[in-house]
Amino acid sequence: MKVSVVDYNIGNIKSVVKALKYLGADVRLAANANDIKTSEKLILPGVSAFGAAMDNLKKLELIQAIQDYIKSGKWFLGICVGLQLLFETSEESPNSQGLKIIPGIVKKMDDTKLIVPHIGWNTIKILKPSIFFKGLSVNENLYFYFVHSYYVCPNDKNVIIAATNYGSDFCSAVEYNNVIATQFHPEKSQNNGLQCLKNFLEL
């Protein structure tokens, strides 16, 4: 089970790496275009601001490499900001352009009525069957760990595979061809999260 994790000097990618290793994966860090090109599976994690994350990808000349990788049809997983970066723009960083893989934008959560960031364990509602959710018990409350202030709004609602309620429903996971991405952190979501990562590794 070979997998690469994009290492672009933001936030803590260690927790993703250790969860993958715990599951028995052969984990490699991808820090340049060639690493990404030669990856068998790629994960883009991220705890950071949208603009800062894109700036770092640009500095390391990884933008084109990630776009090409996704076009190649190999499996890709985005986590948190790694989900948001797949979109066109974000209200968080109006001057930055995203990777533009999925048509749509990233919006800020309504902080007039809610505590923002949305931090903690929240449930997901699976809207479409996905291999990513294989083995999860659908009869129970499916709790995952979230830490974010922005959420994605895909133009095509059909890409949404899970939604979560915080004030109102927002998109908490997408699947788009060979791309799966989650707003929640599977690496911090105990058994449910490990199951999803395992599913991704076994694809």
């Binding site: 936030g11 260690k14 505590i115 960031p117 903690g120 929240n122 449930t123 911090k188």
Partner: protein, 253 residues
């Protein structure tokens, strides 16, 4: 629905979990990695480690402990105690902590909160406040250095300031209640929760399940932290959650 969090807190001295009363009579209570695994298995929503190592020279041991714990649990992990610089924060995050709790140093150098939030994101900067009631003025004063030094700062104003400086959460301990098992200071907790738009973690004084329920409902806290009820095996985390669930408090169970 967003669940209310139940957070066990472990005091770590020179790399070992300790139990004590008011920081004295410390007794060894086991290996931090083993304790962390047990709480993770029981369904803890998060873990807090407080480094109470008295000697500065031995503080590096904590980095090693954090690394070991982080490699075997898959829930958020907060580390606090003796954090003084951005470098301290960075080292602990690199070792695998998800959040860093800053207490005394946030009062002494409040810019540490701004700088930490800017560099690492608000989500990983927790400001811990130890507050004691001033009955005459009907207010709460912030204390630092393990409750030994009064700062003259009002707890509600300080919480607001910490929020404005970029703190992602407030870990609020009532010094009047800590260790008493009389329950959280509900009035204090609710007032702080009403003053900031970030989650408040209630701490200090839990003795019964009802106390936790009150802290999360009347006290408006997003999370309940407890130490002794879990250490002394008075309740398991699962028992706490079942009690809350039966009373319609959303919990991850």
């Amino acid at each position: 629905m967003l669940a209310k969090r139940i957070i066990p807190c472990l005091d770590v001295n020179e790399g070992r979990v300790v139990k004590g009363i008011n920081f004295v009579n410390l007794r060894d209570a086991g290996d931090p990695v083993e304790c962390a695994k047990i709480y993770d298995d029981q369904g803890a929503d998060e873990l807090v480690f407080l480094d109470i190592t008295a000697s500065y020279q031995k503080r590096n041991i904590m980095i090693d402990v954090v690394e070991k714990v982080a490699s075997c649990i898959f829930i958020p992990f907060t580390v606090g105690g003796g954090i003084r610089t951005i470098n301290d924060i960075e080292n602990l995050l690199k070792a695998g902590a998800d959040k860093i709790s800053i207490n005394s140093q946030a009062i002494k150098n409040p810019n540490l909160v701004n700088d930490g939030a800017k560099l690492f994101g608000s989500q990983c900067i927790v400001v811990a406040i130890d507050a004691k009631k001033n009955s005459e003025q009907n207010s709460w004063e912030v204390y630092i250095n393990g409750g030994r030094i009064a700062t003259g700062k009002d707890a509600i104003e300080w919480a607001r300031e910490a929020y404005n400086r970029g703190a992602g959460e407030i870990l609020l301990t009532s010094m009047d209640r800590d260790g008493t098992r009389d329950g959280y200071d509900i009035e204090l907790t609710a007032q702080i929760a009403d003053s900031v738009k970030i989650p408040v973690i209630a701490s200090g004084g839990v003795g019964t399940l009802q106390h936790i329920y009150d802290g999360l409902t009347l006290g408006k806290a997003s999370a309940a932290l407890a130490a002794s009820i879990f250490h002394y095996k008075q309740y398991t985390i699962e028992e706490v959650k079942k009690y809350l669930k039966d009373r319609s408090v959303p919990v991850r169970l």
